[in-house]
Point group: D2
């Protein structure tokens, strides 16, 4: 199996160091300018991922194939995006995986949508609700850039008014009032399906957990995830000085049946 | 789409509360005994997931469909297993997803193997190395129980002696001496592919990062993930008193090409 | 200056390892029994602190002079005690020090009281309110054991009904309803004086901060402190597996004058 | 007891909000300029601490009496200073208190020195070693400003060459090579006395702990302290987004006698 070649139109991650990377589309006659000189993108066509290139000022960059984490971090933004660390827990703890049918709200600029789509493919699907029409174009661009458009349906609708899909595997919420969606999530989920909500404030969590308890959910758990980067160098090893102290709380629950005994 | 029925031979998660759950195989004439009475498993056949049952002493359990997280937590164990929080980061941060070809070592009792297999299906594959023959049977059982056997090949071999596969998307290590595998991982990975290592001690991390730096890897990053559970109840909301203070450090890297410019 | 000798009646800390220590009063004819054999306490009389002794089964213990942290950890308990890490922040962040006059509530079993008394001596004083009469005897014992009785006045009174003292340097609360004490604390404090409250739940914090904002306090800050123990051994260095995930939130504020401009 | 008045020469803390405070010396004809207008300091003379003043642009400031924490945070700096959270643990966990005789190294710009002096007064003393002569003037200024000069003796000497004092209660190190001082600390300490070291990197900790184990110390413990600030506002309560992820590790130990049994 030969290694994958870079083509016209391919997205690449230009890597300088862990804190300086650029998600760029390869075009024949384009130069990509950085604070360390420019790179002629056309010259990359036909090379393999992993190759090293020198910028116009002689600085070495590595050409990496973007991963789903890179697409998340490099999303075009109009809103705060959810962090990869939180997305990772949302997906694994809810059991979302290849083949899952997932409802998401709100779409925002599509960072979480991309991750969900990446993990449900090739046979699953993401139905993503977003009431703010002005965000959808950016979301669509981010999803297309990651090559995931065919796994996503965006609905320009207010999810607090109801969810159209039935029998879905998971409902994932990243929105201001998740508690208003809890009854709709119950209707949309298949029995035993997963509810997930991401909320920055503790008051949102308290209201959402109350709603889950009174709407037939079990297995209700709330977590926060602290990710700590380490500087690893012989004789100078230590955690980094700055860290993100808080992004949000993650609440998980499972739908129990109401009628059967 | 009708909701999924419980059959003879199905694995179910009997849920009492977030801290008391049981992974059980449904068999016609079996009773499952808990400290809250027993449950006649045969009576569940034909019911839907999500259903509630009463034990012999009248305590209510919910019958959930096990998620990949449940299979990880409930792995038959002979060794310390890696935690779901760390597995979640391993998978998302390395870009492992549907279709990925992944090398793993060591298999241990197969908890991480299950998660990798779950996310690479239906067209990817996991090649899992384990030098300790006595662990393989347990690992195989855990993988079969989760219905993932066809996505996994276990190799009873010492990964520090070399990796057979070529052009894989990721190499994932959870073993005592990951630094000895770094050159083999480089050979096995496709350019731009992901290396991941999980290690409990900082000395292991220092050695592994040194090896990555001198073997053509870029994008080297080390993290630790602290997961904090919250008690959410109106008027009594607070983080739980006890938490797991440390499981291990996660080191990620990407393969850069050596020869091209 | 000769080193300090152990006498009849002295309290000592028998140290086996960081997790096994015993706070013991030296008495001439007493044996102190542990799971590693017994120690004849009378034989320690006349020796210096720091000395090593063998138990009846030949296990070595070190005889340490108890520090204020040891007195806190070894408090006779009837209630949950506040942790040394939190006490340390309470004292330094509020500026409590030698000479300070401090009001505390509730006394509980006196662990925090001891620490406050230790730091305000020799010329300061702690006025400690406790409405539950049944706790006061234990508190008194803990305070006497630490040799701090003359720096403490315990008041068997409900602090939510008012504070007798005026012009104090700090008011420190570790009780269920700190927000009810905020107006009394304002009256008792000298201008610019420090208010501190320790509360396990976030709802308590929210109510207390609201009360501080509407009662003339400035510099309102809330923190939580996570203390992580490390295992340090060449080749096996790592944070400990278990840690205390939460004790409580600490809220600090300063009294601003209401009338002057 | 009348409340304390502001005089010519007094240091005050001008408080705008928890993140904007200024440590200022009151002088009759001086204006203090901020981004929110200036304040005529002379007009404060004769007023009480806690009073509110308006700047030239009508913005309200509160005049607080600086606490030891304020003096630490506002130290004139030429080097990185140690954080109040770490200082608080150093002091309480080592038992340093009123009357203690303490050796410190290095002095740096005197932030930790001030805190130690504040807590050992009125009868204790701090002997502070600093080999870099160029730092001592700044340290002296910070100590004088906090009114603590008579409790501190600065020694412009290399502490790795030996400690002059004997029978001290504690040795506190914040320097690059604490392991080189361990044997000298043993000689200087009274039996049962406390050793403390603050180090940013894990390699420093490993070397120091090794030295403590082979030099007659017991009760060796290493911690790191994570302090998390909370935003507390009804409906918007959450930890702050940014936090300091690492300052340093704290290692504590107690001197055991070598000769006695």
């Amino acid at each position: 199996m030969p290694s994958e070649k870079i083509r016209e139109g391919t997205y690449i991650l230009l890597y300088l160091n862990p804190r300086k990377t650029f998600l760029v589309k390869v075009e024949k006659d384009k130069e990509f300018h950085t604070h360390k000189g420019f790179i002629k993108l056309g010259e990359l066509i036909g090379k393999s991922f992993g190759t090293k290139v020198l910028s116009s000022t002689g600085v070495e960059f590595t050409v990496l194939k973007p991963t789903i984490r890179d697409y998340i971090f490099k999303s075009l933004r109009k809103t705060q995006i959810i962090y990869p660390k939180d997305i990772a827990l949302i997906i694994l703890f809810s059991g979302i995986g290849p083949g899952s049918r997932v409802v998401e709200a709100g779409t925002g600029t599509g960072a979480l949508t991309c991750a969900l789509a990446y993990y449900v493919k090739p046979r699953g699907h993401v139905y993503s609700y977003e009431v703010r029409a002005e965000l959808i174009e950016t979301a669509q661009k981010n999803i297309e850039r990651a090559g995931l458009a065919k796994y996503v349906t965006i609905r320009n609708r207010d999810v607090t008014a109801g969810i159209e899909e039935k029998n879905v595997d998971a409902v994932v919420l990243d929105m201001a009032t998740p508690w208003l969606v809890v009854p709709h999530a119950y209707e949309a989920l298949k029995p035993s399906g997963s509810f997930v909500s991401f909320s920055p404030t503790i008051e949102q969590v308290i209201k959402t957990v109350e709603a889950l308890k009174t709407n037939g959910f079990v297995g209700i758990e709330t977590f926060e995830c602290l990710l700590r980067g380490m500087q690893v160098e012989k004789g100078r090893t230590r955690p980094h000085t700055l860290m993100t102290g808080h992004t949000g709380y993650l609440t998980f629950a499972r739908k129990a049946s109401k009628n059967e005994r």
